[in-house]
Amino acid sequence: MSGNPHRLSADWTGRLVDRSRKISFTFDDKRFTAHPGDTLASALLANGVRLVGRSFKYHRPRGLVGIGSDEPNALVTIGVGDKLEPNLRATQVEVYDGLVASSQNRWPSLETDVGAMNSALSRFFPAGFYYKTFMWPQAFWKHVYEPVIRKAAGLGPATTQADPDRYEHAHIHCDVLVVGGGVAGLAAAKAASETGARVILAEETHRLGGSCDIGGGKIVDDAPLEWARSVADDLLASDRVTVMPRTTVISHFDHNYVLMAERVADHNPGLIAAGHPRQRLWKVRANEIIVAAGALERPLTFSDNDRPGIMLASAARGYAKRFGVSPGERVAVFTNNDDAYRTAIQLFEAGVNVPRIVDTRPGPDSSLIDQAKAVGLRMSFGSGIVGVKTVEGGKHIDGIKVAPVRTSGRLGEPEFIPCDAVAMSGGYNPAVHLFCHVGGELVFDDALQSFRPGSTTERLRVVGAANGIFNVQSILEDGFQGGEHAARASLKKRPAKAKLKAPKATQSTEGPLEPIWFVPALGAKNEGNKHFLDFQNDVTAADVELAAREGYRSVEHVKRYTTLGMATDQGKTSNINALGILSDVLDTPIPNVGTTRFRPPYTPTTLGALVGPIRGKLFQPVRRTPIQAWHEVNHAHFEPVGQWRRPYCYLRDGETIKDAVSREVLAVRNSVGLLDASTLGKIEVSGPDAAKFLDRMYTNMMSTLKPGRCRYGLMCSDQGFLMDDGVVVRLSEDRFLCHTTSGNADHIASVFEFWHQTEWPNWKVIITPVTEQWAQIAVAGPNARELLQSLDSDLDLTSDAFRFMDFKSGTLAGMPVRIFRISFSGELSYEIAVPAGYGMGLWDALLTAGERHGVDTYGTEALHVLRAEKGFIMIGDETDGTVTPLDLGLSWAVSKKKADFVGKRALELPEFHRPDRRHFVGLSTHDGNTVLPDGAQAIQINAERTSSPPLGYVSSTYFSPTLNRSIALGMISGGRDRLGQTVHFQAGERMIAAEIVDPVFYDKDGEKQNV
């Protein structure tokens, strides 16, 4: 046979493919031809490729089972290099010219797979076998067993390159979201929009109509597809409706928040080149949701039911009708229900040989069966497939053995029926997944032998086959009613009697199905270990039985012990069959056995789409100060601080980071330096009760602060731990400006609001965060005053007029400024705030004016060194959420006069006054050239190294360029009482001795900052 051996004759062109055009694709490096409209599955089938993959555990050869997103077997890898994408279902991949596909989970090739040995050894790998072995010797798990298992597991390969494609997020709201574009969904969308609602109709595939093209029957007087077409046209033309094809509703979350994944360009890479994203994640908030997701057909559980060529009956006729492809030349049908007769009839009409319909029911009777009889199809009732004959190591089937199954459970005489494919049907399961994501309760439907939706607290209803209704007339009515009711509920219209009428439909009536969870097989095959339930994960009936027998009796235990339903299809087709078996094993009805939990997403969803645009430069914003551009041009080496990126230091030619930091420190100590302090948090607190309020917020007394003065303040949590520090400025009688650390700016503002609104709501306080209004520049160093004095100003900067801790506002270099004479470096220092728009101007002006002093700019690391030399604490270094102001020797800043402040009561706990608490101290290494490592642990003098907790640790450590020796700060148990003692620190192999000293290393009397 040449070309496409399984394409049907010209009358059956396949309604979705364009046979007049050809495109080509490769599968495992072999080139094939397809037609536009083909899926990879239909194209492979058309080309006679039956073997498309290997199973997870036993590497059994596998072919197509389904036709949609429930496909368990046909997983392929699409693309190469940075576009490589594993584990796609061939049934969903739309073929485009040049598509590159490969099979997975095989080595060296799909045809000859070494892993297939596992299949021969499958008896040694029952459910849970790995829990029982691989334990000896102890070290072997990590070094021998696990690496082998890991390599063997894992389906397809992942790319190692970054994803070149773009993804989007979009938000949308609607009155009614309809999930699924089958007859039920179309009816619901039509009714909802005609009732006046804004409607979204999302459909997973690229087309509307769902399975109505293979469901038979008539709507009004036409094929259901014609009705679907006309409704679709109306919906598409309406400006109240948005129809989204190739869009899977993946997740339903609380309060009708829904995620939908739209595959925008997967079917046509040209769209990406044209500027479209590859996929788009829709975030929907729907007032009402209608799930019309249809039903999923389940396989029958017979021995060797996983062989290539054995597929679901609805899929078999779907391939014929939609793609003009036959699953085989001789296709037997195996069923426990009437729907599969449609497959037999339609295949027969398409010219395919249907040698037998094997029906487990002893004497079924319905019009469909009559139709089948009428066209001359042969049936075996009360029979099952009791054996499958394969060739080429199980890659193709050659025929089936069919035998009557007697009421005793015994088999009658088997008959061999040659065939190369089997279409099987075990009935349908309503697609209840989305209904269950937010706690929807299921009920068991005896007629369907499946679960269907019960009650939910969400505004969500289920219609059509998803609701367990399979007859077209009833589906239409269910859809219309659901749509109208949902629309009325959303629009808050009165739930009057439904006005809209569903059109009349007819469909052959079906007889009842027979629940059959295990089809006996010939001889030894009855062990159940070839009766596959979960195809992808190779879980068999025997595994389920074994699990239950070993005590894993909860359905959730069975799932986890056997891995049933845990594969990429999440057991869409197989779970109910397993429940049936479990129910029999435990002798408990299925509803009591229950089902495992349904979880989002409905189908696996690309992480790229979930992340959307939030990557690369859009991943977590970088905040920029008004002076940021200057830092960038001037070789700042940055460090992330909160969302800011602050200069750590500025690198000059040939300098190391260390050099640069020391240069910057010395510039401040010897002349003058500039720091961009714009990131500091700034909060204005005003109102008649502002002072009273800040007395509560800070441990210090703020109400005694005079207007025009600054005070260093501490803030604790009510647990007593130090949370933040900063300078508070009293701008005027009833207006304060609170500075916070950069990383805490937003947090402290909201903490203020929280206390104000929830604890003291009647106090007259107004809190205005103004961080971004101001650029702030620290001018620090002995020449700071001179530098400022060289600029035009209306302010008297002389030391008597502008004292340490004074605040003044005025103009400087023609700019409106607020100047705070505060110091975090211990030098003469001013912090100058200007409206942010002037930030760069002021920076420039200061740089220019400072030229004659050799002004330098300094970054956060120099800032750290400078403050450490002065023994100032740094929030986050000296604090870690367990440290109190008392520990830090800051009790002078903890008011004893105030009756209450946040943290006061807790600070009175005896625990915080224990003499062995860790105190903030200086650490002076005996050898001044040795810098203590960050975080080094202090060990008791003379003591043997024991496991007893260390005395404390190094919290900050630097080489001080000013003092030309190392300095360190640390938290040492009872430290303040140990001044002068020596402690030791482990640094790698070395022990470093250091003396416990006062934390202030430089200018102990504070003369420098007071000049």
Binding site: R207, P277, R280, P626, A629, S686, G837
Partner: protein, 206 residues
């Protein structure tokens, strides 16, 4: 204004924005509204609201998420006790001169926050689409009409949206985030990917 206003201008229309305006293939145009002044107004009583309205010459919007204004001065509702007055920067002193005395000795607050935020005017056929990709608001809600003000999460940042007309809105972002906002918009405004839900659509296979 002082000589430094130049510097101000230089920074405001930073390089990022120039690049943005030049970028081809976007469904929107983005302009920095430039030299505008902003006042953060906190009023706690009806009488103060009336006094402020009188001083400004129009009624402050008291309905949530609306705006009001006259002759270049707009007032955006931000909270039950907070408004942002937006005006040309050069008018700021004169407006303050009127406003401040009218609220003297009341429990209220006026803070000049002119430099705190950047205001971007986003306009063009893709404006609505940009909002859909950037915020969780219902842009098809009838309330989301010209004059509407809404604080939002815009991409990964906090912002406020002031709807100007069907195809444009002003975006208020803290100034440290403006580059991020521009980068975000240029990603969201890819012209080919403009979203137009709830309008007549092309064919979909059946």
């Amino acid at each position: 204004m002082s000589d430094a206003s130049n510097t101000f201008a230089v920074w405001r229309s930073g390089a990022a924005l120039d690049a943005m305006q030049m970028q081809e293939g976007l469904s929107v145009r983005v302009e920095d509204r430039g030299d505008i002044g902003m006042l953060d107004l906190r009023l706690k009583s009806k009488s103060d609201i009336d006094a402020a309205s009188k001083a400004l010459g129009f009624d402050l919007p008291t309905k949530a998420r609306t705006s009001a204004g006259t002759k270049g001065i707009a007032c955006l509702w931000f909270s039950v006790d907070q408004w942002i007055v937006v005006l040309p920067r050069h008018q700021l002193p004169s407006v303050l001169e009127k406003l401040s005395p009218s609220l003297a000795d009341t429990f209220s607050s006026i803070v000049d926050v002119s430099d705190m935020r950047s205001v971007l005017r986003v306009s063009g056929s893709g404006a609505q689409s940009v909002l859909m990709k950037s915020t969780s608001v219902d842009v098809f809600d009838g309330a989301f009409a010209p004059g509407h003000v809404r604080r939002v999460s815009f991409g990964e940042i906090a912002a406020a949206v002031h709807v100007i007309d069907e195809t444009s809105f002003d975006l208020y972002v803290f100034r440290s985030y403006v580059e991020y906002a521009l980068d975000w918009i240029s990603e969201a405004a890819a012209a080919e990917a403009t979203l137009q839900p709830f309008s007549a659509q092309g064919p979909v296979a059946v």
